[in-house]
Symmetry: C2
Amino acid sequence: MSQSSATAVAHPNIAFIKYWGNQNDALRLPQNGSISMNLGDLTTRTSVQFSSGLSEDRISVNGSFLKGEALSRVSRFMDQVRGLADEKRYAEIESVSNFPIGAGIASSAAAFAALALAGSAAAGVNLSEPELSRLARLGSGSACRSIPAGFCEWIQGDSDETSIAVSIASPASWQLTDLIAIVSTEHKKVGSTAGHSGAATSPYQQARVESAPERLVECRNAILHRNFDRLAEVSERDSTMMHAVMMTQNPPLFYWAPSSLTIMNAVADWRAEGLPCFFTLDAGPNVHVLCPSAVADEIQSRLLQLSGVQNVISSRPGGAAQIMP
Amino acid sequence: MSQSSATAVAHPNIAFIKYWGNQNDALRLPQNGSISMNLGDLTTRTSVQFSSGLSEDRISVNGSFLKGEALSRVSRFMDQVRGLADEKRYAEIESVSNFPIGAGIASSAAAFAALALAGSAAAGVNLSEPELSRLARLGSGSACRSIPAGFCEWIQGDSDETSIAVSIASPASWQLTDLIAIVSTEHKKVGSTAGHSGAATSPYQQARVESAPERLVECRNAILHRNFDRLAEVSERDSTMMHAVMMTQNPPLFYWAPSSLTIMNAVADWRAEGLPCFFTLDAGPNVHVLCPSAVADEIQSRLLQLSGVQNVISSRPGGAAQIMP
């Protein structure tokens, strides 16, 4: 007998090897594999209740109800969930995050990972971790990496069935801290809606994709051997390579703010001084500064002294998405 | 009968399609052609006097005598000049520029263009413009573009003889102004010594080089048709493509300062407002903002209001390198 409601939590993740550009936009099959770390101190908690009294899905995010395209996107995802269980009812969905929305932390990864888990459980379907990862991917590509625990690799795959994320190391395996420097942008953000589909217009996307497998090997080995210097080198290189593609797309997407460069320069200086740390940026101006947890306090205090840094959010590696009792 | 002394002036130039990476480092044969505009208001004036009383070349730049590697580089260039005329004497060389040294305006282009002309004339050799361009190129690649007048294209070529710059439009053909925004760097500059030779280590250099011919066509046509929008689009794209290569070299070269991004963002905003302008950056943090001369005052005043802009240097298109009486 199927239950009608469930609650799940999931964490956002920060990618060391980035996802940018799809081989299939509808299925969100990426052009290259990627590797990330879940951010355990940041959590999205989502509850789903199917109810026969609803004439459409009702979705609140941090207390506000979604409308228009945002509502449609989640509702189309819920159609996938309903299809797994022959569930006909609409759902009441409530999602709350403990980290600031609009702060440039990719919240859709945690949101769709939690929704995939809570939605399928509420529909009475017991999915395996790979099946959950695949389902989450349909909502937001990088959400597949927020399903398994710790350090996760999204296997590129060549079909809906084969493009899933797996855990390659547990959250306890390496005491790293992600310090997210929230910056003043001094400039409107460029919309990222057309970002992935515009990747192919960059003359550099092909070279980025073709060289991704060697960076994946380097990153995976760095994580498995807990070699910080190797992780630092390959992660900064991969981040800059993705932003170079974005900046040379048509139209160009410049996600770096002036303050982002201030931080990137400072991080390079600190590492040259012997303080282990590296930067990586997703599709936004905030800079993720990764370091061994032992030096996190020192680096956080330095970051807060840089001009343009408004706030620093700290997180250790996080676990898998999970059902709440 | 050969004369023993001569004085020449030449202008630096700003490239719309950039030179980065050689197919032959010793001969400075570039991996792709490039297009630039001479900066007529900025001038380097160089005099050369061969003298039997000297035991080595003596070279003063803005009143200071060169030593070490800087002296050797110029002296090796003078060996090329001496070789053209069977001249055995060393030279007294004096070079003075009317624009700030170390302000990130590539001064070597003007310096070697003026030296090629003054040196060959002092040695009693009357070189054609293509021959002068080729000689200047041996001193500094982009110097070959400071020999002809106005808007110049450096033909890539495949040998010392065939890699020369030619004028494709006179300085009077288009009323453009280059406003050079001098920025505070807030960070030490990365040395560019190994820059060109490191280009091959970027996974993006090959794609940049392979797609350069289409940008050269676009830029040349924009100049010949005086189509500002086309020049703006291809120049910004080419500038960003070069910096993307630099940032993904090993080791990475980040020439953009935080203030550079502030200006680039502002220029994009102003153009979106309808004010014609575009940015381009050489291997340094200062931002060249090109515009029709009719709006130069407006743009200069806006640039001076941006945070981090210390000064703005203005220049119209310039003529060929020439001998002074």
